[in-house]
């Protein structure tokens, strides 16, 4: 009886897990299929769409890389992402440390205030920011994105880092001060090296958040050569009403997979930071 139930439970577990894994991964499988399928096979409503009915091809990839701006999008995305990471680190690390160590009274209010700005959505801000960017002459420039993306990476990463810094015992810093460092030196030489995993997590998240961003990029950039991956692929690979599904899927796939792999390694850290910040 209990053995039968156990087997049944096991089966149920695998069914649930399998079902959700399929739900999560199927669109990516679908991208892979479309990327390598010949057009004739891809646009055949009768044949089994889940398998290759004709030999796979690299035509879509070739088209994507040589006949579209895709490589430019990738370079733009990298450039914006790295610049945003740099700004975020410079601003969020000191802020998070300050809030984690010294926040009492006003500091705590400020911390919560910073966090709350994360809830003021781009949908409210993009109209005034678009005027702001054009007033600065940054329209159609990647600099507008570099300037604006930190408005959401800074609050998020400050909150995340605050959680990390709180896990580093105060004793260690005080010891470093007794051992000859100043207050600032203790942070620099002891806390930052200890928080390296937190910093790395922030680098990954600031980068991916800016890579994922859609609304600002859509609003500020319309010149094809200046687009990032997240808007370039969905807007530029559609000619008129014709969707070039093969290259489109290839572009989506190439941009998604490396990030997905990196993300997976940082997931636990992200959660640790997230939950410590939000709920102790």
């Amino acid at each position: 009886m209990s053995r039968a139930r156990k087997i049944l439970g096991r089966g149920g577990l695998y069914t649930v897990i399998g079902g959700f894994a399929l739900f999560g991964a199927f669109p990516f499988y679908w991208m892979v299929i479309a990327t390598f399928k010949r057009d004739h096979d891809l646009f055949n409503p009768v044949a089994n769409p889940f398998i290759f009915n004709e030999p796979p091809t690299l035509d879509h990839l070739r088209l994507l890389i040589f006949d579209t701006h895709f490589v430019t999008y990738v370079m733009n995305t990298l450039w914006v992402g790295l610049a945003v990471v740099a700004i975020t680190l410079l601003v969020a690390v000191p802020a998070a440390y300050s809030l984690a160590r010294w926040a009492r009274g006003w500091g705590e209010t400020l911390g919560i205030g910073i966090f709350l700005t994360y809830l003021v959505p781009p949908t409210i801000l993009f109209i005034p920011l678009s005027r702001f960017a054009s007033a600065l002459g940054l329209q159609e420039s990647l600099w507008s994105l570099i300037l604006i993306y930190p408005t959401f990476t800074i609050p998020f990463c400050t909150w995340l880092l605050m959680g990390f810094f709180k896990t580093i015992p105060k004793d260690i810093e005080e010891q470093a001060m007794i051992d000859g460092h100043s207050r600032l030196g203790a942070m620099f030489w002891v806390v930052l090296p200890l928080g390296i995993s937190g910093l790395l997590t922030v680098v990954v998240f600031a980068f991916t958040l800016s890579m994922h961003e859609f609304i600002y990029a859509l609003t500020f950039i319309s010149v094809s050569a200046k687009k990032t991956v997240s808007i370039g692929v969905p807007t530029e690979l559609v000619r008129g009403d014709v969707f070039q599904w093969g290259p489109l899927m290839a572009g989506a796939l190439i941009a998604s997979i490396p990030v997905a792999v990196v993300y997976t390694f940082f997931l636990d850290r992200f959660i640790a930071g997230f939950t410590m910040g939000a709920v102790k």
């Binding site: 440390y97 300050s98 781009p122 409210i124």
Partner: protein
């Protein structure tokens, strides 16, 4: 805190300065973040409010205050009212689904089984891909002719033959029929936000002390009872936060709708964020766009206050 005054006589060059003054350091270190955010977010927010009571357009970018005419005009618009309704419907439906499903996934992932690493990787995938690109994948899956869902339905005889359950047509036209389009958008939102909610639920479940569940078991509580009286109450704060976070995400997201349906067919999937974009940016009416976007703000502020309460409450515990 004046430090240097008493340093004389120590005979060392290292006197207390800013480097040791935690009060000054605290301020100095947090100032850039505050300034950055105040300058860009605060300023823009104020500007959004100003725009909403002006008649500014991209063609005529001078700011003239005209009062609340914009709000009256947008309220008068049936598309806006539909978008408002849709926004709430999307947000709540998808978040309720997300919370329920994520609890199931998290409970399953708490168990040990072979291939857990792979399962977790696959389940987390939707969250890691840029949202616009994931949505593009779904767009292709909901294609009007080549949708694999349609193919499966046809394969099992549920579609595409006379007398079939879902009709004799070859395709369902997922994004072309109001009800299905809405369902499609909700599915994509659920797909996208399920991983985050799962991870938060996992953290919640993991934080329940094992002793507590074991003690309840010793006390003779059934698994059902343990869930009801221990697991759910103890994870409620963190789950509420996940729920509120998800609400904010769906309330303010325009990517899914923009890429999938552009609000169609006939505005049945239009939401406030896309309507803001179409009116304000594509239509050039910055003033009305700003007014539409601000409609969400009271709701978001309410959510923020709720979240803060939750955080405070759970910190006390």
């Amino acid at each position: 805190m004046s430090a240097a005054g008493k340093a004389e006589g120590m005979g060392r060059d290292e006197q207390a300065g800013i480097r040791d003054n935690s009060g000054q350091l605290a301020l100095l270190m947090i100032a850039p973040a505050i300034l950055y955010i105040a300058a860009l977010i605060g300023f823009s927010f104020v500007l959004a409010i100003l725009y909403s009571v002006s008649d500014i357009t991209t063609g005529d970018p001078t700011l003239r205050i005209i009062g609340f005419q914009n709000f009256a005009a947008i309220l008068d618009n049936s598309v806006f009212r539909l978008a408002l309704k849709n926004t709430f419907f999307f947000a709540f439906t998808s978040q309720i689904l997300v919370i329920l499903l994520s609890r199931i996934v998290a409970t399953a992932l708490m168990k040990e089984f072979r291939g857990k690493w792979l399962a977790r990787f696959l389940i987390m995938l939707p969250w890691t891909a840029p949202i616009s690109l994931g949505t593009i994948g779904w767009l292709w899956m909901f294609d009007s002719i080549f949708s694999p869902f349609d193919w499966i339905l046809r394969y099992f005889g549920l579609l595409g033959s006379p007398g079939a359950l879902l009709g004799p047509m070859q395709n369902l036209y997922w994004l072309g029929v109001p009800g299905l389009a809405m369902a499609s958008v909700i599915i994509v939102h659920v797909w996208r936000l399920l991983p985050l909610a799962t991870v938060i639920q996992l953290a919640g479940l993991g934080s329940i002390p094992k002793d507590l569940l074991e003690a309840a078991e010793v006390d003779g509580a059934s698994p059902w009872r343990r869930t009801l009286e221990i697991t759910i109450p103890l994870t409620l704060p963190i789950v509420s936060i996940a729920f509120l976070f998800g609400l904010v995400f769906t309330f303010t997201d325009m990517t899914v709708v923009y890429v999938m349906t552009r609000g169609g067919p006939i505005h049945t999937t239009q939401v406030l964020s896309t309507w803001t974009f179409f009116k304000g940016i594509e239509g050039g009416d910055l003033a009305q766009g700003a007014a539409i976007s601000l409609f969400l703000f009271p709701v978001l502020a309410g959510i923020a206050i709720l979240m803060l309460r939750m955080v405070r409450k759970s910190e006390v515990v």
